[in-house]
Amino acid sequence: MNCALEVSSATVRYGGVAAIDDLSFQHEDGGVVGLIGPNGAGKTTLLNVLSGAVRLTTGRISLQGRDLTSRKPHQIARLGITRTFQNLQVFGSLSVLDNVLLPRVARGWATAVGDMVLLPQAHRKVQAERARALDLLDRVGIAEYAQQPAGSLAYGLQRRVEIARALAGDPELILLDEPLAGLSASESVDLTELFTKVSTEGITVLLVEHDVASVLSVSKRVLVLDHGRLLADGTPDEVSANPEVRAAYLGEEWT
């Protein structure tokens, strides 16, 4: 099942500046969607809007026809949009495993309480969640750090914690804000492979990335933002052939 995301005339203004400006697009057929654009183009702001962290000044967003425009971040997360953060936001004093368990616990406080008062059924459910969380850690390659405080991990590993945590929320749409920043080439390859695999399991991946080559290689559709507006929208080939896109990226890396 693919998610149907609809953004209509979305605008976010900070003082006089429009971080995103009358932006409209739809996406229905899953896969990895790349979102690129120069620094300050509004990519993070769009992700903040989609995850409820920032309210739209005007416009609407919806997922599967359900209006998300004025919903709180935790409601949006439960409705199927989870995310990672460009500036790392792991729970540094919790173990890596607890980081990944939190989205599960948040969906079933009753189970957690039932486990505390030793209800066998709740206990089995909690055990199943732990096993699932460990599987997820294994998938992103950090199972061996499960019991360590997430804050003690290296930068690249903390990025993986965030990805596992976002996947743990059972999203229909996952928003990744520069997940490859600061990673080595081989780590980047690992993770882009993971994004492709995740997308084949029916989770739509919205990938914001500075490394344009990586985005073009994994995305089926690429959106290019510039000054808060959609500069281009199409397949990787169409977008990389677009002269306006090349002009916007002038002086920045473009392969």
Binding site: P73, F85, F91, L94, L102, A112, E162, R165
Partner: protein, 352 residues
Amino acid sequence: MSDDALAAAERSATSVLHAVLRSRWLRYAIFLGVLALVPAVFTRVPFYTMSVGVLMAIQAIAALGLIPLTGHAGQISLGQAAFFAISGYTSALLTTRWHTNALLAMIAGMALSAAVAYLVGTFIFRAQGQYLVLATLSFGLLVSYLANQLPLTGAADGIPGIPALAPFGFTISGDVDMYYLVALVLLIAVIVVDALLRSPVGKALTALGDSPVATAAAGVSIAGLRRNAFTLAAALSALAGSLYAHWSTYMDPGQAGILSSVQLLIIATIGGQRLVWGAPVGAFVVITFSEASKTLIPKVIPQATGNYEIVVYGIALIVILLFLPRGVGGGLIGLAGRLARAVRGREATAVD
């Protein structure tokens, strides 16, 4: 020979240290032991009296809720004394005017405080960031003002003649009786809050303190979580407030003052905000300082008035936090961990 004996003693000391760091039931048992020793010690040492012991236990209960609220969720509250007072005054009014059973009055006081905290929390935690501290401060000032002005609470005179607690028909008369009661309540409260911190709810509170945005993105209502932690802290402070009212037999508006809220924050900070032990350790250290300054300052500076105490608090806080940024409790835990590691390291090199 003596080297061997020393090494053996060191080894057994380290294994005890490891056991204490590992088993929480052992920690509770040690705490129980310390609480049980207090009467024997406090009746023999200068300026410690049983009344000081009762005060320490009551303040520890009142500060305990700040461990999850401030130490984990990262929310500073200047409203703790307000909940202490709401419950204390409720106990006072119900027992002196309507002759309600003291235990029932206490439960009513806690329920009222918790309900007020829930409502206030629902209202203020819609806001974000530093305004929240100001909101708790405004609430504290409001309750303090009302306690000073309302005819119902006896205004500046307060309410005297509050009857003592009489659980199971056994009247708590002296400070020693009262000490055993509040120490038992403190022990139970510490175990309950410790269990909460270990639970998924506690993990969510820690997450909230680490990153509010990521906690929300994980599907947790951060306003709801803050409100619930605020309500729990209020309920514990309320429990302490009612215990205080029935012990001192007198509620006065000073109990609702902002300085009392600040003192509770100081207790949690000095003791260490991350672990439940911060509340009792902080209460011991801070009240020792305040009692010592009450006895010593008049001797050193004969014209001194009560305000000097605040200066002493301030200096003590700064000095302790300079040397122990995680508070006395956090410092002790860190020291124990370092000791254990150092000894283990030496054993490892000895084997090599």
